[in-house]
Symmetry: C2
Subunit: 238 residues, 2 copies
């Protein structure tokens, strides 16, 4: 937690916030705060700044809040990701948030196990938890949007073409003839398949929607390795 | 497991291998093999090829082995990594192996918790297990070397300068004035700090050893995100 993320309901007046639970415990047990200590804070959807400890007791922490800085810039990238295994999904979602992606679409694919869509990791509160952890890590306040698209064909035929239009639109596909470009100076739309890749049919549909297949080398990477490697390569800065 | 990694002791004659345990179970339970099925195999330190199922019973799998292809090219990168938390270390080590890094140095640093060096994850068998998992994922056969350097100063003063000489030698450091370069067309030496970064003193010592500080943006990334993002950006191909 490099930043304590604040929510409107934390405020007890215009400039003071009162924290309980996880953030309180972090301040007390990890940061060992005492009165007067200055913490990095940010308001969800708003600015970042400082929280000066006014009081800490057995259950609550009061902070004097001053917000005067902008959160880091989002990266101009939409990620369309075949739904990974739930355990991996949590880490990937947090990683995407940390790296600054603001639009994440989870897509079905032939090689996605149907059971993944029933996972408790996909419940709104579970997703929100990972996004908050990612924002706290990155000292960011701007929540990504996460969409679930359980039907491949209607999404790829009806929604993806407009989303891809005017962007550098790519699908990471082992065996593609072109390598992944670096330092792309425009918005990027990036589709990433499941373990084992998109099927030939799916790649054809993604190409028809305007995406160009690219590869990152000969080695089949796990999604948690491939995603940051692709983003680190594509974006001029993070 | 995209490739079954074979060891000399698996061979029962010149062209036949007999598997038990983890690889047998993978073939039986995940791949559902039957006689005649062709699996991707590779010999540790040697070529890759195919293993045709000759027989499978309740405890063993016999394969007819044909090795005739080269493993993927290593990437020309030495990683000097401040020792991460043991749980993260396992994943990062496996990820580095998968992405094709062949020289990994784990370094002490002021912000590395001393207890990390006592972790069972650092025992040779535990390290070897992660390397094998990484090779199997990447369809590779060439084991990375892993060195433990528990003393920062002698390593950085006496060993690192020669290692860095003639390479593009970098230390990833939040707040550095230069961004991380992309598509570097020579050998790379890359140092990556712990959560919270190398100290100012440590960065000065790394600079004196010939490394240039570079950053990957404003967001503090977790090591498991930063490592593939840096490598994906730096290397012309993986």
């Amino acid at each position: 937690m490099n930043l304590i993320l604040l929510f409107p309901e934390d405020f007890i007046d215009d400039s003071r916030a009162r924290l309980h639970g996880r953030r309180y415990e972090h301040a007390r047990e990890i940061l060992n705060v005492t009165n007067g200590k200055v913490l990095q804070v940010g308001l969800l959807g708003g600015q970042t700044g400082t929280g000066t400890v006014l009081a800490i007791d057995a259950t609550t922490l009061d902070l004097e809040i001053q917000l005067d800085q902008q959160p880091p810039e989002p990266i101009p990238l939409t990620v369309v990701l075949a739904m990974p295994r739930p355990k991996v999904f949590k880490r990937v979602l947090q990683g995407l948030t940390t790296i600054g992606v603001k639009k994440i679409i989870l897509l079905n694919s032939w090689r996605v196990d149907k059971s993944y869509w029933q996972s408790p990791a996909l419940e709104p509160e579970a997703i929100r938890k990972q996004l908050i952890l990612g924002l706290e890590q990155a000292r960011d306040t701007m929540m990504p949007s996460v969409q679930l698209q359980q039907r491949f064909k209607p999404f790829v035929e009806d929604t993806l073409p407009d989303m891809a239009a005017g962007t550098c639109a790519l699908v990471a596909h082992p065996g593609a003839s072109q390598p992944c470009p670096a330092n792309v100076e425009k918005k990027v739309t990036l589709a990433i398949g499941p373990e084992g890749g998109f099927t030939t049919y799916e790649v054809e549909k993604l190409v028809a929607a305007g995406l160009t297949p690219i590869h990152l080398g000969n080695r089949p990477l796990r999604v948690e390795t491939a995603v940051p490697a692709l983003i680190g390569r594509l974006m001029p800065c993070l």
